[in-house]
Symmetry: C2
Subunit: 283 residues, 2 copies
């Protein structure tokens, strides 16, 4: 895999390129992105060796899609038409069902591997790229059996060299679980930010009363809406289910308070405290 094309040179694509430079000696990385500013930034930062258009994937051994999940589906179909039979395309999106369905019957389905490295920050663009971002992170691979074994093996070996822990899952299971542990967190954080900002319109300067706890809880509200809107759209049913349960829990907590049942308020928190142990497992 000497010729690698990265489509989307942002936080994820850029970080992956930095790790490729470390792990494949003599690799040549081509950056492809609609955003000219990002392309030039990525060149200047030494993340990619050259820029090109999508046609250039004809000569690639590995094509990496690190795009918003709606764009990824369109680009994947286009890329599969162009690449050689010995090349592999991977995507890195936060939803897996829609993209797997979109190419389920594609003649080149075996040249595609659906992956989701659970890594990132709330920042975006090539300047947010970090060396070693994927180290000790979980990478979920879906529908492994639909990809050519020889091709997927090369990519999985590379992931492992970068320090990722691989898990295998169906696309349906991936989307269901990730709605709980990732997508819901983003909505809870965005709506917390909104609730406080809306108040601040009338009540000036309450923000210097905010401490590190508030900052931690609304951190994800800095995330890119362009990236997250298509994720919520593709994972609509699962996300609505998590939101429904979350709102039910909040309403229950509020009802306990309204009824002065502070023993129940205590118990709710006490029962959730063992999240401490669970979180210890997260890098």
């Amino acid at each position: 895999m000497k010729q690698v094309s990265i489509i989307g040179v942002g936080l994820i694509g850029g970080s992956f390129a930095l790790d490729l430079l470390q792990h494949i000696s003599g690799v040549s990385i081509t950056g492809i992105d609609q955003n000219e500013t990002h392309l030039n930034e990525a060149l200047e930062l030494g993340i990619i060796h050259q820029t090109a258009d999508v046609e250039s994937v004809r000569s690639a051994d590995l094509v990496v899609l690190a795009l918003p999940v709606n764009a990824a589906i369109n680009v994947l179909t286009e890329v599969l038409e162009l690449i050689s039979d010995q090349a592999i395309v991977i995507d890195m999106g936060s939803t897996k069902q829609a993209i797997c369905e979109a190419v389920a019957r594609h003649p080149k389905r075996a040249n595609f591997l659906a992956t989701h490295p659970i890594a990132g920050t709330e920042f975006s663009g090539p300047s947010a790229a970090l060396k070693g971002l994927f180290k000790n992170k979980t990478n979920i691979i879906c529908e492994l059996d639909k990809t050519s074994t020889a091709l997927s093996l090369q990519v999985i070996t590379l992931f492992e060299a970068m320090g990722m822990h691989i898990r295998y899952m169906t696309a349906v299971d991936h989307d269901k679980h990730i709605a709980y542990v990732s997508h819901l967190s983003h909505i809870s954080s965005f709506m917390l930010g909104k609730t406080v900002i809306d108040k601040e319109k009338n009540e000036s300067d309450i923000f210097d009363m905010a401490g590190s706890g508030f900052e931690s809880t609304v951190r994800l509200a800095k995330s890119s809406p362009a990236m997250w809107t298509p994720i919520f759209e593709q994972n609509k049913e699962n996300v609505i289910e998590t939101l429904t349960e979350y709102i039910q829990n909040l309403n229950q907590f509020k009802a306990y308070m309204e009824n002065n049942d502070f023993e129940a308020v205590y118990t709710e928190m006490k029962n959730t405290n063992h999240i401490k142990k669970i979180l210890k497992g997260i890098a």
Copy 2:
């Protein structure tokens, strides 16, 4: 202020003691706590010089209440009876209205200063105490005019030496604003943790799919229920108001998704993104 009594030698009381040792040469710190284990830990860690019971505050120049907010009210009344006319008591609780009302007509009201240093972590106990915890943190002082000027000046000078930024506010305003920027964050975090844990009962090992985003958003769900239950009880009306608005915003977001109005989903997130700028102001 050579003789200081700290009632409650946990994270906040312990951290304050560590800063006192740094800023008052020759200070003698007495620790008072119902929890014998905490007292012994605090002694071993060098946070306090000796332990005693509450009667010992008779000889104190400064008494610091760093207790759950319900206990603080009871102890404050008791301490005010015992201390000399030249001594000052401060509390450090996260609610200010109830404690100020409780002593509003106390003959020794002028010997009490209501403060809320906005500092802490999700951990508790003397082993969680940190030197410099209060540096660059906001400290909100309520009803300054009800405290003897000579006494409050000594404490405020000390706070400033520890690097705190002082703000003055009514107890009513404090409780209203802090509900938004602190209390609501804790509930959103606890209920997020609950929603995901409840799911996990049926769906094993989804937690290795969780990334740093989830960790950040549920961090506050590690907080002490014994500390937070009385805070929610004392600030009931304000907290219910913030919860109502938060739930409304979540329901609105869910409705946009159900109606496939992903333009509105995008706009909601885009409008909240400027939290980035606001958060830059938080230490």
